[in-house]
Symmetry: C2
Subunit: 259 residues, 2 copies
């Protein structure tokens, strides 16, 4: 089996936005699926980990795209493990047209936890360090690693939402992709008529549960760059906890869809 | 080519809810995809219709399930046209396990519109009434047709939300499935720990656009039956318009997931 896994997806029409391009959140979901297929085929996937009370936890995700697939288009996601340490592994992605033209790249950092203690677990303990057989260092991933998102205390509270049924996945907390979608929703369609997302970085800090309120603090940090801090408020204690930070780089360079 | 189309889907892990079962909205999306594949293969799909300024518009959708696929499970959707009239067509669905056990059924009613005038268009005018070759009347769909949802004026306003970027699809208005998801979100996880949706009916009346506010009026009409009326408020005129009505039948009979 190859170190790099390659999977085909389709930009389903109802996963595309008003402009007919795949929504970034749905692309993110496809990347997570590709990661799951790749790790399952190689003996360290979620389904197996569940049986030994372990789970992968997404710690960071960065997606940088020069163009998004159009509706009905088939595209491929290649994914591979760039490095593995005891408590973290780096997994990369390449998103391309079926004919090979590259649309963009992704980088992600994953931790492993013990699902009973919720504490970090040793990645190398899985099947005698099987992940080490699959490290791929030759394949380039020519986008920068996700930096720490720096924000000051001047970020403005722009929205507070309730966490509902659809936000929660089988792990019992808000799904990683849902945060991305809620952040993207902070801008409206008139904005997206003039801008597209060139790069999206997210770093996950804490888990959010149903009943929590999520508040979004936004700060413009560059001409086309915004940072957003998500803070949950516990419904009982009213205590605030930061749950994740995002950096969004927009571009006004829109690419016309072929007719 | 067969009159009945059969397509395989997978209950993707992040399309499942806290209980590990596929969310009804994602199943609905798969049904719409199956309808699109089936009609495209037979010469009356959306992609072709776009070129002649026509579009299918979903008018009603009913889904009745005895069980929902579990995460990672592959399942099939069969779909066929039960009848076609000049302005409406009825399309049915059967959802089954790969080994054949039927999970449930769907019924839908579609209209065709002229995308320039937004007026109803003649379905039989498409390729000399090609749809008539594909009518399948022998395959049973043993669930009731969606009745008119009757509601009085005592329904209680239970939530008002803003329509955001992710609600809008390429048609420029709120996606049919998003309404279903917002309605399902009216109940919380503690409710869904004790109940599952046995049947969901939705009848679409008007379109909603970004900037509109959507209000949800709910009424309990039976022991386990609720009706919900969605009303949009135009942000400029503040005028209220009904956009759709739903009927949700719950059951307390939960089916344990195989371990």
């Amino acid at each position: 089996m190859e170190k790099i896994g390659k999977y085909e997806f389709i930009a389903e029409p109802f996963h595309c936005d008003f402009s007919g391009r795949l929504c970034l959140g749905h692309l993110g979901n496809d990347l997570l699926n590709a990661a799951d297929f790749h790790s399952t085929d190689r003996g360290f996937g979620m389904k197996y980990l569940m049986t030994i009370h372990r789970s992968w936890v997404l710690s960071r995700l960065s997606i940088e795209m020069t163009e998004m697939p159009s509706q009905y288009e088939r595209f491929t996601v290649e994914t591979w493990v760039e490095s593995a340490m005891r408590f973290f592994t780096q997994r990369n992605f390449q998103i391309a047209e079926s004919n090979g033209k590259v649309y963009g790249y992704g980088r992600s950092v994953w931790a492993m936890i013990d699902t009973q203690t919720r504490q970090p677990a040793d990645i190398f303990a899985i099947n005698d360090g099987t992940i080490n057989q699959w490290i791929e260092t030759d394949k380039p991933c020519p986008i920068e690693k996700g930096d720490r998102v720096k924000m000051d205390h001047n970020a403005e509270l722009v929205r507070t939402i309730d966490v509902y049924y659809h936000d929660i996945d089988i792990n019992g907390h808000v799904n990683s992709i849902k945060y991305i979608e809620h952040v993207i929703d902070l801008w409206d369609i008139s904005w997206y008529r003039e801008h597209r997302i060139k790069r999206f970085d997210i770093a996950y800090v804490a888990e959010t549960h149903q009943g929590d309120k999520l508040s979004f603090y936004r700060e413009q940090t560059g001409e086309q760059t915004y940072c957003v801090r998500l803070v949950k408020t516990d419904q009982n204690t009213l205590q605030d906890t930061e749950v994740c930070r995002c950096k969004i780089l927009f571009t006004s360079h829109l690419i016309q869809r072929p007719q």
